[in-house]
């Protein structure tokens, strides 16, 4: 319950956060704190410096930007869940946000924090992968954009530079229909045992998996099968191809692969039905 000793700085702006990140060798960003603080309280994480970006209100927004919806990295799940714009134009984001944790978690946790934590059991990376979202990050040298898939470095690791700050997530408008997020949890507040995001695209679907490997994964076999004319049930049989899910108290790897097939079929039936 009591973390090891650490220093703490409040970032006044995104640029200030970048600057602070560069001031020490083991600095971590603190946004909603719902991934980092539990680790620190168990002393499994011992950062020397916390850079608190939680008060950067100008990074909390959902707005239309041409063909995309731009989401500020510090937007809380609760605000995503209630966003009329997301509900109309990219409803899978609002829906998935509403399945995260419990109401208290959703009032604190941020979508950017989730993406930057890169937990394969989290919902946001999977949904953004299925949407082929784009990330905007700021570093000492300025701003750059990259597809969300390129941000996945491995288990709990992104490809972002330690001194880079995720500032915005851009998702395409999908319209009201043609999506599904099927999630199995032991309890409502738990991380997904397995979840599947499906978004209709190009006559088929983009399909992504939660907690089926070291990062969120695209179900390439399913997408190929759909593209070559398979029906959803047949395509879903390939959902576990190439996955390497963990075994834990909630499910063995074998059971997770079974669940991935079942939940993919259900997701495709909803998204394409």
């Amino acid at each position: 319950m009591i973390p090891a000793r650490f220093d703490y700085e409040v970032a006044e702006s995104a640029d200030h956060a970048v600057e602070l990140l560069g001031s020490g060798p083991d600095a971590k960003l603190l946004a909603g704190g719902h991934s980092l603080l539990p680790l620190m309280r168990l002393r499994l994480a011992r950062p020397e410096l916390l850079v608190d970006v939680g008060r950067l209100g100008d990074l909390s927004y959902v707005r239309e930007d041409g063909d995309a919806i731009a989401i500020g990295a510090l937007t809380r799940y609760h605000d995503l869940e209630r966003s009329e714009l997301l509900r109309a134009e990219a409803p899978i984001v609002a829906h998935a946000a509403g399945t995260v944790g419990d109401p208290q978690v959703r009032h604190r946790g941020t979508i950017g924090g989730s993406v930057a934590h890169c937990d394969p059991a989290s919902d946001a990376p999977t949904v953004l992968l299925a949407l082929d979202a784009e990330l905007v990050v700021r570093g000492p040298g300025g701003e750059r954009r990259l597809p969300v898939a390129e941000s996945f470095g491995g288990f709990l690791a992104t490809t972002l530079d330690p001194q880079e700050l995720l500032t915005e997530i851009r998702v395409p408008k999908t319209g009201a229909d043609g999506w599904a997020y099927e999630k199995l949890t032991r309890r409502a507040q738990d991380w997904a045992t397995v979840a599947v995001a499906a978004v209709r695209a190009n006559g088929g679907a983009r399909v992504a998996l939660t907690n089926m490997g070291p990062t969120a994964l695209r179900a390439g076999g399913v997408e190929e099968a759909l593209a070559s004319g398979s029906d959803p049930a047949a395509a879903a049989e390939r959902a576990a191809d190439g996955t390497s899910p963990p075994s834990d108290h909630n499910a063995s790897a074998e059971f997770r692969q079974h669940l991935a097939r079942v939940l993919t079929r259900r997701a495709l039936e909803k998204a394409l039905g």
């Binding site: 199995l184 309890r187 409502a188 738990d190 108290h249 499910a251 059971f255 079942v262």
Partner: protein, 787 residues
């Protein structure tokens, strides 16, 4: 009804809002961690990361260098401070093995979390940081977690001074048992697992100890269910005069049995306060509690039922292997024995054969956890009854109805006497509420349609023994204390009343319930009844709160103390009114003389008894009475619970749809509080059935070490519970009350798992181990379908 109602009258049976809630809801409760004393230091315990390891060297010197550190001690440093082992008060047989259990280990660590050193510092964070610096050289030894494996030849020895890991074998058998089993035409045999559970009281444990050298006086504030028992046994463990030790249980946030213990940290804090001359506080962290606070269950159960072809149940045979963990905690050895009498359930059987082996393992000690032995018993008999129903192709309702005990009092095969009950009434009402016939029709339709979600309907009809307990029976059972309790009523001159109870509430609402009893019996306005508890220096002896005893024993003591107040008041009033006591009528503390307008109240009598200006010759001044009540029998609640749920046959997910509980708990003092008890108990039982399990790996590490991995159900996992009651008031106490604190946890695991198996029996599934998580359901379907 508002608590401010001042009208004298009937308060027993009314849903009075809890007097406790205002302070709980506004943050004005005072838990141990809220208490501060001048000069207080904070303790952090260094715990073994190994389940089983020889302690080669402990060096606290690096911790002593750390900022704010005041002192640090190893187990060896303190080894001479203990006059006796930490206690087990229930050595269930003459030859029960009870190894030495010191508050800090000296030779070996015997479970992951066993304390090996303690560090004291000016702040809690400093103590925690410094505890990490204590250097301990461990020589790891093999772990053994499963109690059956611990009994096997060659298993690692938890206590090397013993020849094996067996602590005791306890047996209870009727003479006819072998004959009945060999002659019965039908015998079903089942094997079940009672997984380890972690109690999870919302307030972690905590202690604050103070020693005043000039007076040689000790005070311990502890988050405990048992201040009175704690004083007794800490005095023994420390070898100090009991009268020099004051134990206070301030506001306590839940226990469920996990605070029914004498813990290492309680003894440690007192000894450290004496050594340092400064008050010592220790507050448990949640994950620390998962290691250091007693667990529940951990049983392998084998149960056989002997029956006739027509479903007449004749005998029950049970073999238990129970993990005690590394040491015998306060009532750990006896916990399975509390269930030993009721494996026959609500049924009339002639033969009984029970045996339990208690086994040491390299795991956190187990002890009482809500229901303590009776949930396990109810689970085994109720699961086995469903297995018998399947064998005989009978409806589980009909099998139960055929075998219910119907006449009371009833001496059951295990030898105890059930004083009253109404099993048929409870089951009939539950089936009516749930629309059993309609559900069976829906189930048949879904089966015929091959629906992906199959319906399961599960029953648990139960009886249990609680209200611990008749002292004479406890003596026969080798329990080291009695089962009485005491209450004192002190009528103050201005009309209000102080009530001192020997029970020690930690969430149950005793202040409200006991206020109702006094308000009802003595006509004192309910807000003028002050109920005091949990401080050994300010009240008569008591025996605390556990085993659904507080109303059934302590409440009856209070009721009978009120009788004494009425009796003395009557003498005072008769004297003042110059009438014969026989001419007085009394109702709710108001005395009247028939045919006149003369009237006086208990409150009037209290003032006269206080001034003592004009009392009958020889009468003691004051109006105060104590009653010590020793119950002549256990309390025997019973009832019928029905769980209805849907099982997704593809994913193994279970969704509760209905839960109906019809309990028979005698007369009810406060129906809202009783509903709350049933709600909480059922929720915990659903937790056991579907979510909760303490899991150790091969090396003996607890891998469900936080609330992330140990799944306590939240409101989102539960449904509205449908509660009702039937009543067969207990004839063994004047209030006709029974215990209710554990019934929900006792009945619900069996009801839920019976429903799961009921949904899947069509696929050949006969068992799903608790917790019935999706993968277990899915695998049961794979295996069942393959048969």
């Amino acid at each position: 009804m508002a608590v401010t109602e001042e009208k004298a009258g009937a308060w027993i049976g009314k849903p009075v809002a809890r007097k406790e809630d205002a302070k709980l809801l506004t943050g004005q409760s005072r838990y141990v961690d809220d208490l501060t004393l001048p000069g207080m230091v904070f303790a952090a315990v260094v715990r073994s990361p190994f389940a089983h390891a020889r302690i080669k060297r402990v060096d606290v010197a690096p911790a002593l260098e750390s900022e704010g550190v005041v002192a640090a001690f190893t187990g060896a440093d303190l080894a001479e401070d203990w006059a006796a082992t930490l206690p087990c008060v229930w050595l269930v047989t003459e030859d029960t093995k009870q190894p030495m259990h010191r508050p800090l280990a000296t030779d070996k660590a015997r479970y992951a979390g066993d304390g090996v050193a303690v560090v004291l510092a000016e702040t809690r964070a400093q103590a925690k940081d410094a505890a990490e610096l204590v250097e301990v050289d461990y020589e790891p030894l093999p772990a053994v977690i499963d109690p059956e494996e611990a009994l096997a030849e060659g298993a690692p020895l938890v206590h090397e001074e013993l020849e094996d890991n067996r602590s005791y074998t306890w047996a209870l058998k009727t003479d006819n048992a072998d004959d009945v089993f060999s002659s019965a035409p039908v015998v079903v045999k089942e094997r079940y697992r009672q997984q380890r559970l972690i109690p999870n009281a919302i307030e972690p444990r905590g202690v604050l100890a103070q020693y005043l050298p000039a007076q040689d006086e000790y005070t311990l504030w502890s988050a405990t269910q048992i201040p009175h028992i704690l004083r007794f046994w800490l005095a023994v463990t420390l070898g100090i005069p009991e009268a020099r030790l004051r134990v206070v249980a301030p506001d306590v946030g839940g226990g469920f049995g996990s605070k029914l213990n004498v813990y290492a940290e309680e003894a440690l804090a007192l000894v450290l306060a004496r050594r340092l001359g400064r008050p010592v506080k220790w507050t448990e962290e949640r994950s620390e509690g998962y290691l250091a606070t007693s667990h529940g269950r951990d049983q392998w159960q084998e149960i056989e039922l002997a029956a006739d072809e027509d479903g007449t149940l004749r005998g029950v045979r049970v073999r238990l292997t129970v993990g005690m963990g590394a040491y015998l905690q306060l009532v750990g050895a006896g916990t399975p024995i509390l269930g030993a009498w009721v494996y026959g359930g609500a049924y009339d059987i002639e033969a009984y054969d029970f045996e339990c082996v208690g086994v040491f393992t390299t795991a956190t000690p187990t002890d009482a956890y809500r229901g303590a032995g009776r949930p396990e018993a109810t689970y085994a008999i109720e699961r086995a009854m469903d297995a018998l129903a399947r064998r005989l192709d009978m409806d589980p309702v009909e099998l139960r109805r055929k075998n219910f005990i119907t006449e009371f009092p009833k001496t059951i095969a295990s030898g105890l006497e059930i004083d009253s009950g109404d099993f048929h009434g409870a089951l009939d009402r539950a089936l009516e509420l749930v629309d059993y016939e309609g559900l069976r029709r829906e189930q048949a339709e879904r089966r015929a349609a091959g629906d992906g979600k199959q319906l399961g309907i599960g029953l648990a009809t139960y009886t249990e023994m609680c209200g611990l307990a008749p002292s004479r029976i406890l003596g026969v059972l080798l329990y080291a204390a009695g089962g009485w309790d005491a209450a004192t009523i002190r009528c103050l001159p201005t009309g209000s009343v102080q009530v001192f109870i020997g029970t020690s509430p930690h969430g149950q609402g005793h202040v409200t319930t006991f206020s109702q009893i006094v308000a009802d019996r003595l006509g004192i306005p309910i807000e003028q009844v002050e109920v005091l508890h949990g401080d050994t220096s300010t009240m008569q002896l008591g025996l605390d709160t556990y085993g659904s005893r507080s109303l059934a024993v302590g409440g009856v003591a209070l009721y009978k103390a009120a009788d004494k107040i009425v009796e003395k008041s009557k003498a005072v009033v008769a004297h003042k009114l110059e009438v014969s006591p026989d001419d007085l009528q009394e109702e709710h503390g108001r005395f009247t003389v028939a045919g006149t307008d003369k009237a006086m109240t208990v409150q009037d009598a209290a003032l006269h008894a206080f001034t003592a200006h004009d009392l009958p010759d020889g009468m003691e001044p004051g109006l105060e009475a104590t009653f010590v009540y020793d119950p002549p029998n256990f309390s025997w609640p019973g009832g019928a619970h029905v769980a209805v749920l849907e099982v997704d046959t593809e994913t193994g997910e279970i969704e509760l749809r209905r839960y109906v509980a019809v309990d028979e708990i005698g007369n009810v003092v406060n129906p809202t509080i009783v509903d709350g008890q049933v709600h909480g108990g059922v929720a915990q039982g659903i937790g056991q059935a579907l979510f909760e399990e303490a899991i150790y790996d091969e090396e003996g590490n607890l891998t469900t070490g936080s609330m992330v991995s140990y799944l306590v159900p939240s409101a989102a996992e539960l449904i509205d519970l449908e509660l009702d009651r039937v009543s067969a008031p207990s004839p063994t106490n004047p209030m006709g009350v029974k215990g209710v604190g554990e019934t929900g946890a006792i009945a619900s695991p069996a009801a839920v798992i019976n429903a799961v198996v009921d949904a899947l029996a069509q696929f050949g599934v006969t068992d799903v181990e608790m917790p019935a998580k999706p993968e277990r359901v899915w695998r049961a379907l794979q295996e069942g379908g393959a048969r």
